[in-house]
């Protein structure tokens, strides 16, 4: 594989941006950055993203009814013409409800069939999902799509009165992880005059000294901190003196107690985003509406039952998406595996009672707490179709997995290496007919 160059990673990098990258990498308390990446935006792309940000800021997200989505017909026709998977289904049905739903399993089977013929392959990038619902995924994307996330973040932050201001020489965002293995790097954001972007891991192994984490973050003074509830919990333990303008939380359910603690500690709003690799930021939690307000004007959200039938407003079911801004992976009736009801609250379409992927922690024999993502990474190389891991109050683990007999020896070896040789572990065949898999669960209080 050819190694990309810095000119490809940062096509518009100026001298001031280069100096900032150097400062971020060579800071006396900087962590070990394990990877390299960049914005990959050309000058033209930067203009496109800025125009998109303006469009999204001004757009209205209408009530989620097929007849109000003026873009939908043309979008469906394009998908059925340009995307191999949909083309194979024949003509475009008259009603969206007659289009069969697709799921993570369909994307996981062969994502190439969902990439439009018109998508430019030379700039294709990928995002890997953590597979918290049982199907690890490779998502086709593009630098423009990745950069366009910020348009929806700005829209969400605007609800809390926050306008991003970080600029040249400052750090716009630090993305926090807390995992044994984490993709970490530094970059700049050209749409923000090359404000810095740092993706780092708070796991102690990535640092020369554990206290460097606090010192580095304080030295960076980022305008925004992004992470998940687990990395934010780790951040709180550092006792860092930071004054960000906002925290963006994704990936897992943010419990009210943690939100409150974060808001009190950092003196800023914490925006809980419902965001998927497959679709980008879909909704942001607004405490005033007690629900997640939809963010994307060119996305139609349906709530469907098990048979894929759209449910009326207020009824709880699976969140299903059509449209979106990832032109490399247009979604048509994509079942997310997440559940909520959809209601109009103060005129805004809002997901109520969103049941996302709650973080689960497991205890090892040595008493160490592990994030469920560690298990996901550990088992990823085995390419398991689906599995479920549960920890009983006694600490005993039970793993149900598709193809248990085939993988048992390897699974046992891997899990005992992580949890300790004395760990009680049962491995059984997963009953896939039992419906949605709650992948991780624990009866141990963490």
């Amino acid at each position: 594989m050819t190694e990309p160059t810095d000119a490809e990673r940062y096509p518009t990098l100026t001298e001031s941006g280069r100096r900032l990258l150097e400062r971020l990498r060579e800071h006396p308390h900087a962590p070990l950055f394990r990877n390299q990446s960049g914005n990959r935006l050309t000058r033209e792309d930067v203009e496109t993203v800025r125009a998109f940000e303006q469009e999204i800021a001004a757009a209205v997200v209408p009530e989620q009814r097929e007849e109000l989505a003026s873009w939908l017909r043309e979008f469906l026709q394009r998908c059925y013409r340009d995307v191999p998977f949909y083309r194979a289904l024949g003509g475009v049905p008259r009603r969206l409800g007659d289009v069969p739903c697709v799921s993570r399993a369909d994307l996981g089977h062969d994502v190439a069939r969902f990439v439009p013929d018109s998508a430019p392959l030379e700039r294709l990038i990928n995002f890997r999902t953590s597979g918290t619902t049982g199907h690890p995924l490779l998502i086709a994307s593009h630098p423009l799509v990745a950069a366009s996330y910020l348009a929806f973040h700005r829209r969400a932050l605007g609800r809390f009165g926050v306008t991003l201001q970080a600029s040249s020489g400052e750090v716009g965002v630090v993305l926090l992880g807390y995992q044994r293995k984490c993709f970490t790097y530094v970059s700049v954001t050209p749409t923000q005059n090359e404000a810095g972007l740092v993706k780092l891991n708070l796991y102690p192994e990535d640092w020369r000294h554990p206290d460097d984490r606090r010192k580095y973050l304080e030295g960076l003074a980022p305008e925004v901190l992004a992470g998940d509830p687990i990395s934010f919990a780790a951040l709180l333990e550092l006792g860092a003196s930071l004054r960000p303008r906002a925290l963006l939380s994704t990936s897992m359910t943010l419990r009210p107690a943690l939100r409150q603690q974060l808001e009190t500690t950092f003196g800023c709003p914490v925006v809980d985003l419902y965001s998927l690799n497959e679709a980008g930021p879909v909704a942001a939690f607004d405490p005033a509406l007690d629900g997640h307000v939809l963010l994307q004007p060119r996305m139609l959200v349906e709530i469907v039952d098990d048979a894929g039938r759209a449910l009326p407003p207020g009824e709880r079911g699976e969140i299903t998406l059509t449209g979106g801004f990832n032109f490399c992976l247009p979604l048509v009736r994509y079942r997310t595996g997440d559940y909520a009801a959809l209601e109009l609250r103060r005129g805004e379409p809002t997901l109520v009672g969103l049941e996302g992927r709650a973080p689960v922690r497991f205890r090892t024999q040595a008493g160490e707490w592990l994030n469920n993502i560690e298990i996901t990474h550990l088992l990823a190389p085995l390419g398991l179709e689906q599995y479920r891991l549960h920890q009983a109050p006694s600490g005993a683990l039970s793993l149900s997995v598709v193809g248990a007999a085939q993988h048992e020896a390897e699974l046992r070896a891997k899990l005992l290496e992580l949890f300790g040789a004395e760990q009680v572990l049962s491995i059984t065949e997963l009953d896939t007919a039992a419906g949605k898999v709650l992948q991780y669960s624990s009866e141990l209080a963490s």
Binding site: M1, T2, G90, G91, A112, A119, L124, N126, A140, S251
Partner: protein, 194 residues
């Protein structure tokens, strides 16, 4: 074949009644009598399409050995597309020139003009082929019925389906390879990660 077209019998009747002038030899250099490019140009303008002269050149250049067959089919297709029903639908955004040029090349691989006119099955094939390439299905048929019938009738269509399937597989392979490149693996900046 998203849209419903006209009755198949209407087009088949027209093909059976092709005037002898449309079966004449195409003009290629000193040989032949019919200037196919002029016929195609007239047809396009009749449908409100303004073809560029470079596009029409493809119907005037070549040698009798390599281009006679395809131009004879182009001429026959021009006769079919002059049916009044085609005038009643707007063809301006449809691939009329593609049908006359590439469609003719595909058809001439499997049938002569004489056969396309004289043989009832070939007439049906030609009528269905014209409609399908412009996105129509015969009146009264579902898309699936129309596709099945065309594929079973037409060697050209079968070849097209095979080619499309090969192209789709090649594209899927190219997508998988592009996604596996180091640059794709490195991904790009997002303000949040899921």
């Amino acid at each position: 074949m998203e849209r419903e077209g006209c009755e198949l019998s209407r087009l088949m009747r027209r093909i059976a009644e092709t005037p002898p002038e449309f079966l004449e030899e195409p003009r290629l250099g000193p040989q032949g009598t019919v200037a196919v490019s002029a016929v195609v140009g007239d047809l396009c303008r009749w449908h409100g399409i303004q073809p560029e002269s470079a596009a029409l050149d493809a119907f005037a250049i070549g040698t009798p050995k390599s281009d006679r067959k395809r131009l004879r089919v182009s001429l026959l297709l021009a006769w079919v597309l002059a049916e009044d029903w085609f005038r009643s639908v707007d063809l301006r955004q449809l691939p009329v020139l593609g049908l006359l040029l590439h469609g003719a090349s595909e058809l001439c691989e499997y049938a002569t003009v004489e056969k396309l006119v004289a043989d009832a099955e070939r007439r049906e094939e030609l009528a269905r082929f014209c409609l399908a390439r412009l996105g129509f299905r015969p009146q009264g048929e579902t898309r699936a019925q129309a596709e099945d019938r065309l594929t079973s009738l037409s060697a050209a269509e079968r070849a097209r389906v095979l080619r499309a399937s090969r192209d789709a597989e090649a594209r899927a392979r190219a997508v998988r390879e592009a996604l596996a490149r180091k640059a794709a693996e490195e991904s790009a900046d997002k303000y949040t990660r899921e």
